[in-house]
Amino acid sequence: MAALGAWGSAAAPARLSRVARALWGWRARRGLGQDAGAADEGKAAKPSFEDETVQNLLYKMTGLNLQKVFRPVKKELKPPKYKLMTEAQLEEATRKAIEEAKEKLIMPPVLKEREPIDDVLAEDKFLEGTETTKYVFTDLTYSVPHRTVFQQDRHEDILNMCIAQFEPDSPDYIRVHHRTYDDIEKHAKYDLLRSTRHFGGMVWYLVNRKKTDGLLIDMIQRDLLDDATSLITLYHMLHPECQSAKAANEGKLQGVDLIKVFVKTESQKEGYIQLALQAYEEAMATSTAS
């Protein structure tokens, strides 16, 4: 429990309620002392995944599409139930639904890859004399090719299965997640993950590797300017030495100007982003005019 306490309290975001700690109680079961040390190093060097500001930004970007969060999970078919409600009851029900949706959107932790365990798992002295020969155990697992899953756009399903089966710091979990994020970024399918709990992890991965251009274009095309600014703020927090971060700090820029400065200095797909911004501004102009 000490290790869990260190990890949970050092970040102390309000969103990590008791529910989340019970979910990620694998920390308590392991009781590994080295995790607390690793978390501290991450915070001292640069903002880590669990910082409150980082979590807030990622949460804002995830969005809260109730229709998608409570999309029916494939179970047996039952006819829908209809309830008659007054206005007040409807508001109450919507509020409760938003609370539950927030819990569903709690992000699974993004951690460093665990080093392969080379040490002895258990030494049983009392078994010493029984076996005259040694046993060698080989693991024969092989992974399923991912092409079929990605073709069917089932990225979210595979990430959910990954969470259920693997621990968040195992190499398999990390490998599958990275491959999924790369595929999403290659085909610009960001919307698949948008209102799910994997969005934060994906954004963290992309920002760390500076591959944010596609995501930025997607956000501008969907008129999500606030999300775009949060993305750039997060980028500046993680890479404070880049030019646009310094310019933003000096000028205290907001909104569209921030995006423009970022686009000029840091992005690779400058042309595309400029075009998207222009289209957005024209759309804004026509809508305000009419």
């Binding site: 258990a122 029984t130 020969t133 024969l140």
Partner: protein, 133 residues
Amino acid sequence: MVQLGSHLLKGYRGGHVVIRFALGGCTNRPFFRIVAAHSRRARDGKYLEQLGCLDPLPNAHGERVAGLNLERLRHWLGCGAQLSRPAEKLLGLAGFLPLHPMTVTGAERLRRRRAQEAALAPADGSSGPGDAP
């Protein structure tokens, strides 16, 4: 051929999926395949899936080699397969499952028997047979 198929498929009443050893090899040369099969099938008969193998004879380096497909093993255990006792013991030694109590008991019995024999052997000269076990 499709019409013949239903007569070739064997239907069982009851039974469940087990993960057990299927013996193969030749005379004086056993070889086990770790296999998921219906409990009512013959030991070496048709199985659902092979999950690994075990060579009980030590190899050139004095090791007994066992291979386990842990991912598929987890899948079958998740589907509700049961394990035979030797399969449980093997997985306990491998570390996938907790150690089987009979492994511990067997080790204790062996140790006690060896201690008894060691006590009996020098007791020919010095004193009578040692204390009661």
